[in-house]
Symmetry: C2
Subunit: 189 residues, 2 copies
């Protein structure tokens, strides 16, 4: 009998594929290390050697399956349009990933996180750079005052994030519009 024992990258890929399949089949909170290992035809120890926890495994699987490329910075020609585009894209990506997975990951990370950052980079992070760029372009067009402080620049994403936690669902389009029109635009013009 050909005893094939996978190693290195090939094994790792198989493990991540198994994790992804398990995520699709069972959802985040029914996903067990046990089940992933079994699906990959190996044992938990092999999993733990690579990823010390379930959220880290899942994030690795997501990274493999869905590169989650950061995307270009919207350039619609208006500050308002750019901001709406950014927030709507965030909402869309969260929805694509699946809310159950999102909240499962957030919950695990908030509970135990040594590194909240990983998750943040993967699913919550919109770089302050994006906001800065958009604001700079707007200032050049005369749409926004120059020198908007960092804390003000990130208000839209901060309030977005708050909505996400507060209501356990991504902001409605109405909420997004309110954040931009009632809060952000008055602050930067």
């Amino acid at each position: 009998m050909a005893q094939t024992r996978r190693r290195g990258p090939a094994l790792e890929a198989a493990l991540l594929d198994a994790a992804w399949a398990e995520l699709e089949a069972s959802g985040y909170d029914r996903l067990t290390m046990e089940a992933v290992a079994e699906r990959a035809g190996t044992s938990r120890a092999v999993l733990y050697r690579r990823w010390p926890s379930r959220p880290e495994l899942v994030i690795a699987a997501m990274r493999r399956h869905r590169p989650m490329l950061s995307g270009e910075i919207p350039d619609t020609g208006s500050l308002r349009g750019d901001m709406l585009a950014v927030l709507r894209r965030m909402s869309q990506r969260l929805a694509e990933t699946g809310l159950e997975t999102i909240y499962g990951l957030i919950g695990d990370y908030v509970s135990s996180a040594e590194s909240f950052d990983d998750l943040n980079d993967q699913v919550l992070h919109i770089s302050a750079d994006v906001m800065t760029t958009i604001l700079k372009r707007a200032a050049d067009r005369g749409e926004a005052r120059p020198g908007v402080p960092q804390r003000v620049a990130t208000v839209p994403t901060d309030l977005f994030r708050n909505e996400l936690f507060r209501h356990r669902t991504p902001p409605s389009d109405q909420a997004i519009v309110e954040i931009i029109d009632e809060i952000f635009l008055p602050l930067v013009t």
Copy 2:
């Protein structure tokens, strides 16, 4: 041998006291239903009959030990002073409760919550009423424009909450001041 078997309220009180003691002794994430039951001299089943999950047990224990009275609405004579007082009080209460417990509870609730609301009432909630009252008084003094929309009124607590999640620590005093001075006050005056 006097077989004393506690019932009803007396038993419930003993269970909550045991949970509280266990919380102080081990902290939130080392607190197990097992240990609470043992400390109370009973079994897990008795616990689960009353509280279906660890966070709910802990919140009940907190409610018993620390009534978490909502507190009066600050009235310092200025809008800025009132807002600072509200946010600083939030920070202080979170610190008193213990960050490890706070983040443990939040994590559990975000993960699985059927009812995020319980937690919210207990530790995160600052009523929109508080903000409305403060703003009304400020408007009467001529410090704020009247008719500030709800979404604007809650900006300080929303951003506070965002900081709490984003950095996994309550906002610094500097952050609180920035939220008030750079964002909130410009929006309402």
